[in-house]
Subunit: 206 residues, 2 copies
Amino acid sequence: MNAEKIPDIIIGRLPVYLRALQSLANKGIQNTSSQELGEIVGISAAQIRKDISQFGEFGKQGTGYSIPFLVERLRDILKVDRGWEVIIIGMGDMGHALARYNGFTNRGFQISMIFDNDPQKIGQKAGDFEILDTAGIAEKIKQHKIKIAMLTVPAPAAQEMADQLVKAGIKAILNYAPTSLNVPDGVHVQYIDPVTHLQRMTYYLD
Amino acid sequence: MNAEKIPDIIIGRLPVYLRALQSLANKGIQNTSSQELGEIVGISAAQIRKDISQFGEFGKQGTGYSIPFLVERLRDILKVDRGWEVIIIGMGDMGHALARYNGFTNRGFQISMIFDNDPQKIGQKAGDFEILDTAGIAEKIKQHKIKIAMLTVPAPAAQEMADQLVKAGIKAILNYAPTSLNVPDGVHVQYIDPVTHLQRMTYYLD
């Protein structure tokens, strides 16, 4: 299978399937069907079967999917069977909340360093981490071969910081600043902006 | 125009266009093109023209879009030209970060009440708000005719709280708990789970 061949919209649904499957596995459930999975995630069974079949044969007609096997394959496909180190830049409320969030580790990620440029914050602790000076961020990214960053700086500072991150070798940015980022080909950006999600829903409200 | 007729994937892109247009407007820029907008948001100019044309004629061939006009129309289409009241349930780190976030107001939303079920937290302040007891949440939702909730409770508590919210009249839930929610038709759910976004990107990394 080749990254070019699978539409990104399908890739985007795999983590949602994985999360639901792991939740079933945590309840001790061993098998599921595309129907059951579909009800959990709110996606049609046909779509789920089609998405998963892109990566080979998983389920057997009539017996459904083996959850441990499908979890292992999805973790392998999404490359979260390793523990990716992630850095956080921007130690405001959101940065602090992420530094203290305990939901990364068992899903393929671990925070390894956190940064801010405020002299009042540098050297302080957030969660288990000491806040480091962004002045030294490029060197630290290179030294630790970090590929993934979560960006929680104010919107006006986001593009300049993203440029620095990319130059230092970051390949994936999860951007919490409510602004679009320009990055070169081969660098991936995902956005977390609660307002865009709220606005997508108000369209349907009276 | 009818909600049934426009695919949800298009609705989902409109808030991103709106954010970019408002950012241009804040710089005093009056006109833009689908090309310029496309470069900002990372979506093709053709896709943008097609999406926007679903809602009528906006741009003129050669002169592009009037930003103030398009902003006004998008705010009208997405119904964010009113100030929606939003409640937050769950005053952990994420709930606190959202209660103190100042990016809602000028984009169509205002936090109106915040809730937790922890006696240690009830009555305390978060941002400008006093934390209220979830025991009284249904009554408060009905009284203030609240339609939108942000759910930042732990995953195991999310479905039960969502059921309560829906029963009280909530029509849109922004779910920060890393779990899928089952809601009846006519209730909308959007998910914010940083791990799914990270996993979507690691697929492409070496």
